[in-house]
Amino acid sequence: MSEVIFEKSVPGRRGVTFPTAGLSDQSINALLPPSFQRQSALTLPEISENDLIRHYTKLSNQNYGVDTGFYPLGSCTMKYNPKIHEEVARYEGFAGIHPLQPAETVQGALKLLYELQHFLVEISGMDQVSLQQAAGAQGELVGMLIIRAYHRTQGKLGRARTKVIIPDSAHGTNPASAALAGFTIQTVRTDSDGTIDKDDLAKVLDQNTAAIMLTNPNTLGLFEKGIGEIARRVHDAGALLYLDGANLNALLGLTRPGDMGFDIVHFNLHKTFSTPHGGGGPGAGPVGVKQALAPFLPFPLIERRATAQGDRFQFEKNRKTAVGRVHSFYGNFGILLRAYTYIRRLGAEGLLDISRNTILNANYLKKQLEADYAIPYGARPCMHEFVVSAKQFKSQGVHAWDIAKRLMDYGFYPPTINFPLIVEEALMIEAPESESKETLDRFAKAMHAICGEIKEDPEKVIQAPHTCVIKRVDETLAARQLNVRYQ
């Protein structure tokens, strides 16, 4: 680590200066009585512009992004983030407009949002889309609240629908979001084929079921082949079908959630539509629904009105059935506009190329790893990602975690580890379309080399990483002796 910024502080140094307000203490007190004034010291660093820039440049050098190299992080879709997105988001006409400006002064922004709603409707096969949710998990929460609101309009029987069914392979956000919306969670098992166990589903699906939350392709990277049958059963039981759109990258232009029978879907624009992850956000989690659920979408949506002067765009005025508002304003506009830019660059053909190439990449990489690693459920072709198991190396004392750390020494960010929970010692590998064949070959070579190292010198893997700025981090100590701020 480097010194933290506070340790570089020297009293009296400045990073920026402002014109002085030219007020005496007395005149300040007249505007702001002392009883309202801060008495405690304001301990912020005092540092020159030059030293500050060097500090954060050094920190950036101790970090790894998609621009640094391959990020095979399963279910996260770490694809290349086009530079034009960053340029466009900084245009004064986008970055410099206030959320409460009158509609007539922000027609460009409203048009963009209106069109993005429609692009996502077309891409997902749903009927209406809300863009407001700030990330996937907030999209899930909204989705669950919509489901709750819908069932409440269905009388007594609807109110009894208090349970949401979630597969054992699901992301942790799914049960967390459903619980926050007031539902109890029931788990459904995965069968030996890697998809939903239909017998188990029959057992748990009943008149108390509000919805089932699925990811398709699921977190094993497999397409839920029985989706038609599942949708029929869920709907016959009076429940709704929710899609966690985390893995939408594999479906673009090939099939649509709406056509498969999903009633509701959330998108992760920071995955599929290539807005940068930002080191953990900002993201955007639009929600798409079928017509029957549209009255419940968060407020406000954007409308188009045809006038003599041409189309006019505005926020809807009121919708009492809405589940409410979930963002201070209209969501992460700067992210929505990057996704819009991406879709305009690619068009229909480009989006189809995305899914085709990520599926091709994943299957190619999976083939390269087959000789060295066990791939549960691997007999079937995968979609955009696949899961290998490091279980066979446990006898040498090597875990998935160790392989992940050793990959760092080969210059790769590690795959997603120990997830999904149904695969022991899981390494979940995604191969976005923006990666070249040479990169995949290099990664496969590294994985092969690590396999050899485990056999000949397992300690080398267990002690990894060897080439990062630090050795392996003691996470247990961090939790035991909490130090969460500089003092």
């Binding site: 008495q39 912020l44 922000v106 304003f329 379309e433 050795k471 996470e475 969460v484």
Partner: protein
């Protein structure tokens, strides 16, 4: 296509390696669900065309002389902020789950947490939540977890959108929300007190409140704590260059909109919610937290910590559903606070305070314009207009000025009242121009 580095030759070679004759052999999507047509979307644009298209679209938005605030503030952003945010090792990185390859980001979040603690006077901070509104909602939920009581009291002086978001977040939980009314621009302490009972988990206030006025925080804190409720304060981070901190007031949870710290107003997002509390409550806090530890060689290092609170471990028993947060916006806040330092933040706060008062004085000197509230304010204030405020705003707009927020929409009793915001960026010429247009 510049985002997909694959030639037809390579595709053929890869399919051959996989051992299939065609791409279609890899697809298990049942025929009945295949799209079999292209999306109905606008034709693709080349980069050259795209830049022109997006530039034109951006020009359909007007950037005007603005006195709009209400939760989105146009403060000066030093050049250091975008210089750091443009480092793609930061902005193209994922959540720093793999600590050894993410030390830079982890350290910057540790610095962010420390800065937020120092700014608010609180003991611990998380790594950020979505925005000010969801921060307040998360604080309400956390208060219920801590106190095991099932009601929150929320004052009408809180940003109307924030109150809506709190309602949405709590709508599935069975937690009851009680309201406390406004009296002369501030929360009525008397009526607020009537709402607090032995089932109150928390009292939620905003300071300065939505109308720009400073609340009687001492009294409210005392009443809340007397009944065993927590005090949740939503605060303006810029104001803390001058104003008494949530820590000094004895608040239990301090939250707020962090946009003003180095983030563009950008039509409402992405912004960043900050969230700080007492050390005793850290295990009930939502969101990610970075901790300092050591590596295998006992050298100092950083990593995500207390992850057992979070959804990827705890699933339905997590403290919050949040996963992705607003890391890059939090980095902007970090660089902003580090650049300004204590003197810079105080200067900005003082400029806001004095310029706002200058404008208010000039406006109320105009015949018919009055200031309905006599309480202390920071950078936003309310004026009563002698004519329809809606038509006044239209008149100002014709002269290229965004004159403030018409309060009637959210407070029917404040018909023909405007909420006006002034920041350090407003020049005296701009203030004069605004005043001249009102006359």
């Amino acid at each position: 296509m510049e985002y997909i580095p694959k030639t037809a030759l390579e595709e053929a070679a890869m399919l051959q390696q996989i051992g299939v004759a065609s791409f279609d052999a890899l697809l298990e999507i049942p025929q009945e669900f295949r799209l079999n047509r292209l999306f109905n979307l606008p034709a693709p644009l080349t980069q050259m065309e795209l830049r022109r298209e997006m530039r034109n679209l951006s020009r359909k938005n007007k950037t005007l002389l603005s006195f709009l605030g209400g939760g989105s503030y146009d403060h000066f952003i030093p050049t250091t902020v975008d210089a750091v945010l443009s480092r793609s090792e930061f902005y193209t990185a994922y959540t720093p789950y793999q600590a050894e390859m993410s030390q830079g980001l982890l350290q910057s979040i540790y610095e962010y947490q420390s800065l937020i603690c120092n700014l608010t006077g609180m003991e611990v901070s998380n790594a950020s939540v979505y925005d000010g509104a969801s921060a307040l909602a998360e604080a309400a939920l956390m208060s219920v977890r801590i106190t095991k009581k099932n009601e929150v009291v929320m004052t009408d002086a809180i940003h109307p959108h924030y109150r809506q978001v709190v309602r949405t977040y709590l709508s599935g939980t069975g937690i009851k929300i009680k309201e406390a009314p406004i009296d002369a621009g501030r929360t009525s302490v008397l009526k607020l007190t009537e709402q607090i009972g032995d089932q109150t988990a928390a009292v939620l206030i905003q300071h300065p409140n939505f109308l720009g006025q400073l609340e009687s925080v001492e009294e409210i804190a005392e009443e809340a704590h007397r009944q065993g409720a927590l005090l949740v304060m939503a605060v303006d981070p810029i104001s803390l260059g001058l104003l008494k901190t949530p820590g000094e007031y004895g608040a239990d949870i301090a939250v707020g909109e962090g946009q003003a710290m180095g983030n563009a107003i950008s039509f409402g997002g992405p912004y960043v919610g900050f969230f700080a509390t007492r050390r005793d409550f850290i295990r009930q806090m939502p969101g990610r937290i970075v901790g300092k530890t050591v590596d295998a060689d006992q050298r100092p290092a950083f990593c995500l910590t207390l992850q057992t609170r979070e959804q990827h471990i705890k699933r339905e028993r997590a403290t919050s559903g949040i996963c992705t947060n607003q890391a890059l916006n939090a980095l902007a806040a970090t660089v902003y606070l580090a650049t300004l330092g204590p003197a810079g933040l105080k200067e900005v706060a003082l400029l806001c305070l004095t310029k706002a008062h200058q404008l208010q004085e000039k406006i109320t000197a105009i015949d018919g314009f009055t200031c309905p509230f006599s309480s202390v304010y920071f950078k936003e204030f309310v004026v009563k207009t002698p004519m329809s405020s809606a038509s006044l705003l239209k008149k100002l707009l014709r002269k290229g000025i965004l004159g403030g927020i018409d309060l009637a929409k959210h407070y029917p009793e404040l018909k023909n009242h405007l909420l006006i915001c002034v920041t350090e960026k407003h020049t005296s010429e701009e203030i004069e121009e605004f005043v001249a247009c009102l006359k």
